[in-house]
Symmetry: C2
Subunit: 403 residues, 2 copies
């Protein structure tokens, strides 16, 4: 008998009608003699509403209470699903994280699942029951409710799959899989049948909203194959895996692009050991995420130019922090608000030379100027003017035969 | 140092602004050096919305899941209150029933609180914390969430007061106390300063919505004095107590009236042992609540008339059940849909003769016909035509010097 973990996201359980549909999906797995373990998110909109309420009561809402507050969202959806499953003839019950328990460590609102005690769950599965488990939350060693960050229900599903030794982990969401690039922006985007963890990690980090990077990382670390499917339409989804068995010879798996990036260049910084740390320490302290960093070669051995990118929203704060920073001296600051990062991703590039050249050449032929370049083993990112993003993704999609 | 239990009902925490107001009330108790234990209901409307969702998914929603579903309402309001209290500088945290724990017995949706383990709570109070506890719920011996019936937050407050040995238990609600009769209907209604448990029990059973009978019963059994106050306006409320020390010589404490009653008379029933049981058994099985019952003296020793009252909503079902009942034979059924029960309540009537006469006389002078009479030691109820209710309450309010 196979054990299947099914995870449903917020839009998948976003209304009474959606919950009925989800229960039909669960029923179909159960009727195929599977052990079925369900993880659910809160109904879409519910978590945002709770966050809004907390903000109206405090601009610095107590973190532990914030977690206790948000946890109610999944508790509601799980009880509704279990109630409906009983109605259509399945033995089912909701399990809150303290009832299992799912034990987390780390700070409130960004805890991580440490352990899942599956003894009772296994007994319940053996008795033919279908457990509906609250995603996104757990308890810490002081018996307080914790949450594991937005989209944390994916992490719950992956950890449940690990601890219960599931055969399959299926993430049901509102898209039907992972695409070569954003299908809402590019008509030629195609669904990817299989993708490696590392590729998916890069895709997720670079703006693909299908899965959070940390969840993909969890899956990779625990070697759990994940299927991403739509709960709205019945279609094969995307398999995220580490197994290389049946992969094609595709070099590039997908193309990502970001929005709302900004570029800062500090011109004529005094070049001395530790200068980068001096620049970035106050930004890090203020939770400003620095993405691409380029330091030009110091020609005269005394001064250098430091270029880096951040989210546009952080631009004003960053400017202020640099101007206040007494540990650095420089000639001037220059800014560019309208830039975007376009990345090509694929494990195939490790063994295929010339990918960088092909990428740059394709962009050059379309007269797209590259501002910054950053590479990893399976990814090449370029920073370009935001107005060229659509054209850049199209030409690269074609260049690497994803059309 | 005094320990005070404060309970806030759904309308008292019904909005963000109301929660801020409630937190000010809590703060004022805490600043007077009290230990403060708070019990909260769900924000008004929330529980009804959850019930509605459950009904849309099943006309017979699984009882355990129903409890898990409804329990989220108080979990939300308690987290919001605790978050706000921290914001205004009070050390506070929410406690869900499983965290304390509050242990219940009995079936889902109508469980009763059996025990509250107050060890951790006491430690927290000693450390200066203000615990915000979810009303209306507990866990059973299988670690499932249970609820203790609508308005069950009052019961939670009373049991907490009992187990933590509180000096005071204050129920904050949307009315500012218990009145001699319904103040929305009768302008001369006056707020009662002190009322005995037994009187309050009768008032509650007879339609006063301030407190549920079972909660008053809990207070009586555990000898917990309760104050009912408004969270909307700062006014002295009503004390519900068993202590006779400072009571006045008031004979009648309050007057209640019901709505939507119906009277049924089964004319010419064959009078034999067990006939009443034969009539009422099928009604009881169908959860139809029979209130007043009168059986006329059987003149010929063979036949009798049986009159009883039920809620108007149950009339059709009751008629059907009587007609289907093969264990009884009778001449005819007669119905009266437009009747109401008016009751006078007061422990003073135990020691004061002539109350019944005064009541009947006062009604007779206003030409109000009495259809059925029923009495207990501290209550006299009469069934009258619904159109006379307002007049009857007025004349009795005056007769017994409540004006």
């Amino acid at each position: 008998m196979k054990t299947v973990v099914l995870k449903f996201g917020g839009t998948s359980v976003g209304s009474i009608e959606r919950i009925k549909k989800v229960c039909k999906i669960i029923y179909s797995y159960k009727s195929k003699k599977n052990n079925v373990v369900v993880i659910s998110s809160a109904m879409s909109g519910v978590t945002n509403d709770l966050v809004k309420k907390s903000k109206l009561l405090s601009n610095n809402f107590n973190k532990a209470e914030y977690d206790a507050l948000l946890a109610t969202g999944e508790q509601t959806s799980c009880a509704l699903i279990a109630g409906r499953l009983n109605h259509i003839g399945l033995k089912s019950r909701s399990w809150q994280s303290w009832q299992i328990p799912i034990i987390t460590e780390g700070p409130h609102s960004s805890a991580r699942i440490n352990q899942v005690i599956v003894k009772e769950l296994k007994k319940y599965l053996k008795d033919g029951g279908t457990p509906i488990i609250t995603g996104f939350q757990g308890i810490n060693n002081r018996f307080r409710l914790t949450t594991i960050g937005r989209s944390g229900s994916d992490a719950t599903a992956i950890m449940l799959a690990k601890f219960i030794k599931a055969d399959e982990c299926i993430i049901y969401t509102d898209v039907d899989g992972v695409y070569t690039t954003d299908p809402r922006q590019h008509k030629k985007a195609k669904k990817i049948k299989k993708i490696f963890y590392d590729e998916m990690l890069e895709m997720a980090s670079l703006g693909s909203k299908v899965m959070q990077p940390s969840s993909v990382q969890d899956a990779k670390l625990n070697n759990i194959d994940i299927k991403v499917k739509s709960s709205f339409i019945s279609k094969p989804g995307t398999l995220i895996t580490g197994s290389t068995k049946t992969f094609s010879n595709q070099i590039i798996t997908g193309i990502s692009s970001t929005k709302n990036d900004a570029k800062i260049t500090i011109v004529g910084v005094k070049d001395k050991p530790g200068i980068a740390a001096s620049i970035f320490k106050p930004l890090s302290k203020n939770l400003i995420n620095v993405d691409m960093v380029v330091q030009n070669i110091s020609l005269n051995g005394k001064e250098t130019d430091m270029t880096f990118t951040i989210k546009s929203d952080d631009l004003k704060k960053t400017e202020k922090l640099i101007k206040q920073n007494k540990k650095i001296s420089y000639k001037k600051l220059s800014f560019d608000k309208d830039v975007s990062k376009v990345s090509i991703i694929g494990v195939g590039m490790i063994t295929t030379p010339g990918i960088t050249y092909r990428m740059f050449q394709a962009l050059a032929l379309k007269k797209i100027n590259i501002l910054v370049i950053s590479t990893s083993e399976i990814k090449i990112s370029v920073l370009i003017s935001a107005k060229h993003v659509k054209k850049a993704v199209s030409v690269l999609h074609k260049e690497f035969k994803l059309d």
